[in-house]
């Protein structure tokens, strides 16, 4: 249902969802807060935070948007041999495998350029690739589940699925990054 173009109607449609998403995101803030000492000690780790959050959220939202379009077009079926389903899942995993090494190299390179990264290139790249691979699997699971639920409950996937998937992947991005960092630091 389209909302009218007034401040009042837009606010009525948007603000409740926005507040819920804010609470979800504050949850990931607490994870960061819990590891504040470590993050402030290693600039390269801190620098990984925005890019990991953003990339995880994007992987999820791109997949969800594509699944939702396929659902609208009637080509998506929740079956193991469905082309749009399997193709998009594979693409998400491939995107993650190709992009996270660049995230690691870029983060280490840029933090080194502007100061002391306090971590070796190897550590930063390992953290980035490991968390990226975990996050791709998580993004697939979250996007699939959300699209499936939207389909079951006949919600418009464009309205509900995208913000939910993006924000859930954001939050899990922080959790996974901080968790993986404990393995390598």
């Amino acid at each position: 249902m389209p909302t009218a173009w007034t401040v009042r109607d837009i606010t009525k449609a948007m603000l409740p969802v926005l507040c819920i998403l804010t609470i979800v995101e504050v949850g990931s803030g607490f994870v960061l807060g819990r590891f504040e000492a470590q993050l402030l000690k290693y600039p390269a780790l801190l620098a990984l935070v925005p890019v990991t959050i953003g990339t995880a959220g994007n992987l999820g939202s791109i997949l969800a948007a594509r699944l939702s379009t396929a659902l609208h077009l009637g080509t998506l079926v929740f079956a193991v041999d469905n082309e749009p389903l399997l193709g998009n899942i594979l693409a998400t995993l491939a995107l993650s495998i190709s992009i996270f090494p660049i995230v690691g190299v870029g983060t280490w390179g840029l933090t080194t350029l502007f100061g002391d990264p306090a971590l070796t290139a190897e550590t930063v790249i390992l953290i980035s690739i490991t968390s990226g691979t975990c996050l791709a699997v998580i993004a697939v699971a979250v996007a699939l589940l959300a699209t499936y639920l939207a389909y079951r409950f006949e919600l418009d996937p464009d309205d509900v699925v995208l913000p939910v998937v993006t924000n859930v992947c954001d939050v899990l991005g922080v959790v996974v990054l901080v968790g993986v960092a404990q393995l390598f630091i």
Binding site: T55, A65, A91
Partner: protein, 195 residues
């Protein structure tokens, strides 16, 4: 592997890669600024906890604005012109800024309340809310201009604005989100110190 599934995967990969690369570039720049913000993060306890919510608000609010404007163009509800700006567009951007500021202030309230409740050191509510709102005004204004301009220019050149919104908002949202957060913290510290 089934050839048609491989084709579907390669097609999806090729279509998503440019947007993802752009957002990674934005995220890397944001990361460097964030990595250099350690002094501010130490000075304002609770700021680190606030950051994910503030960044997400940018994406949620201005992503939604972009989607709305893009749909409005498709439906012929608004005209893509920079002079004599459409009244619907003014109301939609006003609503986005308003909601973005409310959500930012709400995030500051939640962070302050929870951290105070569990007994963690946290800056005053006034400090956190001032930083959240000032950063929200700056980054919101820049994002509105960037998103609308990009959508209009893209539309006038025959591109589908739906494909532009996501990458533009995520890329510029991260960079401006962090950059104006840094500026807002410095402003608040310069004016009031830690209340």
């Amino acid at each position: 592997m089934d050839v048609s599934i491989r084709d579907a995967a390669m097609n999806a990969y090729r279509e998503a890669l440019p947007a993802l690369t752009a957002s990674v570039a934005g995220g890397l720049i944001a990361g460097v600024v964030f990595g250099g913000m350690r002094a501010e993060l130490r000075t304002v306890p609770g700021l680190l906890v606030l950051v994910p919510a503030l960044l997400a608000t940018r994406g949620n609010v201005y992503g939604s604005l972009g989607a709305r404007v893009s749909t409005g163009l498709h439906q012929g509800l608004i005209e893509p012109r920079f002079h004599d700006i459409d009244e619907r567009l003014v109301r939609a951007t006003g609503a986005a800024l308003f909601n973005g500021l409310l959500a930012s202030a709400f995030a500051a309230l939640v962070v302050f309340s929870v951290l105070s409740f569990v007994g963690t050191t946290v800056a005053s509510f006034l400090t956190l809310v001032a930083i959240a709102v000032i950063a929200g005004i700056f980054s919101g204004s820049v994002l509105i201009i960037t998103v609308i301009t990009a959508i209009f220019l893209g539309y006038q050149r025959g591109r589908n604005p739906d494909d532009l919104v996501g990458p533009i908002v995520t890329t510029t949202g991260d960079i401006f989100g962090i950059l104006f957060l840094l500026i807002a913290v410095r402003l608040v510290l310069a004016v009031g110190g830690i209340f």
